[in-house]
């Protein structure tokens, strides 16, 4: 696969029939590459928290990247982050909706049973790790697992607000833009999410 640097930069969205100025296009390309490279791992982890399945999370992140690059690359850079997360959250919601429909349909078919947690067991997961686990890292991993489980138990909007504000570090206005709601709603969702999480995790943490 060719590296991104070797791509023809002329792909950046340009609405006019005449070709875009080359310098501007190059600038867009570099900026977008930097933005996506910066955001992709956090976006993946957030999608994984919501969807559990890493393949699904990867698909949703890739779709969000594609839509941002195709439709919104010409927008000001400051708008990319909320736009990207709005696309991502929509993708997550669509996938969850499809899953629930599929689950309902599969329940009618005899002899078919979905994996209860939608987590297929990978044999490689059962192989012992050669490197000794560092206790501190192990504890952090366990704490993160507990946090993920508690986040999944939250209503979707509260989870979105918490992840965008706390994990991604968006401000209230950016979170409102990403969630497509008012700033007041963001504050409410976030406050409730923190309250619920603290109640659930207070004893463990």
């Amino acid at each position: 696969m060719p590296r991104f640097d070797t791509l023809n930069p002329a792909w950046v969205v340009w609405d006019g029939p005449s070709p875009a100025p080359e310098g501007a296009v190059l600038e867009y390309t570099r900026e977008l590459e930097k933005f996506l490279a910066d955001i992709e791992r956090r976006a993946f982890r957030m999608a994984q928290v919501a969807l559990r399945d890493p393949d699904d999370a990867l698909d949703v992140v890739q779709d969000a990247m594609l839509k941002l690059a195709c439709k919104y690359a010409a927008r000001p850079n400051a708008e990319w982050r909320p736009l990207f997360y709005r696309i991502l959250e929509n993708g997550i919601r669509d996938l969850q909706r499809r899953r629930s429909v599929r689950k309902r349909f599969m329940a009618w078919l005899p002899g078919t049973r979905e994996d209860p947690d939608n987590e297929a067991q990978d044999p490689i997961d059962n192989v012992a790790d050669a490197a000794p686990a560092i206790p501190e890292r192990l504890m952090q991993a366990q704490a993160m697992q507990q946090l993920e489980a508690s986040l999944r138990a939250l209503p979707a909007r509260q989870r979105e607000a918490f992840m965008l504000r706390n994990f991604e570090g968006l401000d209230v206005a950016g979170t409102a833009a990403a969630m497509g709601c008012s700033e007041g709603s963001v504050k409410t969702h976030y406050s409730r999410a923190v309250h619920s999480l603290r109640e659930q995790l207070g004893e463990v943490w």
Binding site: M1, L7, W11, A37, F44, R45, A141, A143
Partner: protein, 132 residues
Amino acid sequence: MNEQARDSFEERSHALFQGSVDSLDFALRSRLTQARSAALDAAAAASRRPWFLRKFSWTPAAGVTAAAVLGAALWFGPLGHPNVTAADAPSLEDLEIVASSDEGSGDTMDMLQNDIAFYDWANNAANPGPAA
């Protein structure tokens, strides 16, 4: 709960999340890079299309056109079979008269026999032969 407790909780959550991001394995990072490149490749392919194809999708228009054609075909009748009206339909009554060979209704044959001289003249006029 005081403000300090809230801050520490948020900070811990953020730190844990950031730790989990940093500890993503190499295979997953590689897949993410590939996904990014694939997305950008697809965007590049889309941008190479002419601007009028890029602006909007033709799929809805094609669907509407196909539906209109189908509707017209169903409305105006099946293709390849022109409309058959009552006036165009072969009249069984006429056929019966022509084919009739009943004793009391041999009008057609009688008419032919009575005018045989006329038909003979008409044939000669249409196909004039060499003068005898």
